[in-house]
Symmetry: C2
Subunit: 318 residues, 2 copies
């Protein structure tokens, strides 16, 4: 649920039954095991209205929860006052469906006027499936403004059982890499991103994940980590081990690259024509993401009224 | 060897020993089995100088030879006078190294002034390896001119043993797909390209191939077929069966899509600014391809003098 589902790696076909409601959805290239995903923590830190706080990650598996807390802490420490406080209304910071089977929380922090960040968005989503399994999506994304051409950031974990994970780590480019070879060199060839991708690619239970959305496929950089990890044959806590031993380190490295090179990189001199082009591209990127994801997914999980409310608030901000 | 190695899916690191000479090269993500690839046909149709004709494909495996002959026949029938005769000098149409362990043939046909094709390039390359195995690369590619923004074409087969194939089928885009969503829709979402990709992706011996070159990864479309097929555990003629049953049909479909939609599609009204952008991008695409591929690969296979000669002729034409 990066950029509110923007990189939700599977776009539900419209013919799918509403998930979280009656039947297993038809998800191309994505398996929904029937085992139940246990809740990793109880709602021990709910607010006075009984709502979990964003940073509680009440449904994430322990290694994902720990990693997300580390990542957000790194962002807050490094960016500090470059990020403004979250101004989302309470009913968009946390919401659930009528039957209480789907829950989500959003944290959106705009960049300060002096920063090169448009906004950062963190989210978690939990959705019980009719089979007894549950879908948990946890993400941290950043979107740049037109004072820089530096890449965006996407970190996303989609877990549908204790043994199944789709993992996305990327700095999506904001320019055509064929027309701008120096951009390819600066942000991808001259960084350690490919090394991280190779480390994760070597995990024997991992295979490349191909999103059914051609748009989503087009968004990623050539060093993107887009993997499906299936440890159902490995037994025990293998997925937790992979998350703690390999994924955590790679995610921190990707985040640190983005922080140093993009969010806190040297100020650039962007001409008016280029700025206009970046604005147009970023606007399309955001609107297309919302169209692709919220338009189909959020109403099915949370009902049309709640989806409309979230969409309205986000469109006003974005 | 499309666009003279332009999509050669592995860029040899400069530290690699000259292959075809002394030792097995270090090819990331690419395995060189030790079994010898048998020559599929003898040089029965050599010209008076003892050189094989381009369409003889003297070293390709029988199904690849048959498929290439079919593909080229389809192109020639459909495009007819839209392609001018090949004007490459004889010593560039066919060349070999001093020791006779590496052979290559090129066929380059420029588009007629009324066509939207800059040029089409077909090639085959055969290189004996010190292990006794051989590398055979066979390709058919087309490059468009700036009278259209329609995608290029790449069809390429890289075979390093009777059980190992890297396969590339794609219509590489000529525009940023995020900035131009209508382009994504026209050439990729509204065509059958994704269907073909999915058919080939289902082959149990196939897995996604990731080029070590970040530039090459950036070239492909979201529906690109970029697969490695390894039938070493399947026994018998399984690779031949896959080529005849699955790959041939997919390659014909990709070619037909390109012919109908790109080479023979409706004439477009391309503005001056867009034309300049296409020209710049296409020029970078060609020069970067040559730099990536010929610069490192051809001298190792054929020696510096021959590589310089081929490069000089091609640069003058391109």
């Amino acid at each position: 649920m990066a950029l509110i589902f923007s990189h939700f790696p599977f776009s539900l076909p419209s013919k799918a039954s509403p998930f979280c409601q009656t039947s297993l959805p038809s998800l191309p290239n994505f398996r929904f095991p029937t085992s139940t995903l246990t809740r990793s923590s109880v709602r021990s830190s709910m607010d006075s209205d009984g709502r979990p706080g964003f940073k509680d990650f009440p449904y994430a598996s322990p290694p994902i929860k720990d990693l997300m807390i580390d990542l957000i802490s790194t962002v807050e420490n490094r960016l500090d006052s470059l990020l403004l406080p979250c101004t989302l209304p309470q009913d968009v910071q946390y919401f659930e469906n009528q039957s209480g089977t789907a829950h989500a929380s959003l944290l959106l922090r705009s960049g300060a006027p002096s920063s090169s960040i448009d906004f950062m968005l963190s989210s978690w989503l939990h959705c019980e499936l009719p089979t007894g399994a549950a879908l948990n999506i946890t993400s941290l994304s950043s979107y740049m403004n037109s004072s820089t051409d530096a890449p965006h950031l996407v970190i996303e974990f989609i877990q549908s059982s204790p043994t199944s994970l789709v993992l996305i780590l990327d700095l999506p480019p904001r320019k055509d890499l064929i027309l701008h070879p120096e951009y390819l060199k600066t942000f991808y060839e001259d960084t350690q991103l490919e090394k991280q991708r190779q480390v994760l690619d070597k995990i024997s239970e991992a295979q490349l994940y191909v999103s059914p959305s051609l748009y989503i496929r087009s968004v990623f950089s050539p060093t993107a980590v887009v993997l499906r990890v299936d440890t159902s044959s490995s037994g025990g806590d293998r997925l937790e081990q992979i998350l703690r031993d390999d994924v955590s380190n790679a995610a921190q490295e990707v985040l640190n690259t983005w922080l140093s090179l993009c969010a806190l990189g040297e100020k650039q001199d962007i001409g008016d024509d280029e700025k206009a082009c970046l604005k147009k591209r970023d606007s399309l990127y955001k609107s297309k993401s919302i169209e692709t994801d919220i338009g189909s997914s959020l109403p099915r999980m949370f009902g049309q009224e709640k989806a409309d409310r979230v969409l309205e608030v986000l469109q006003a901000i974005l």
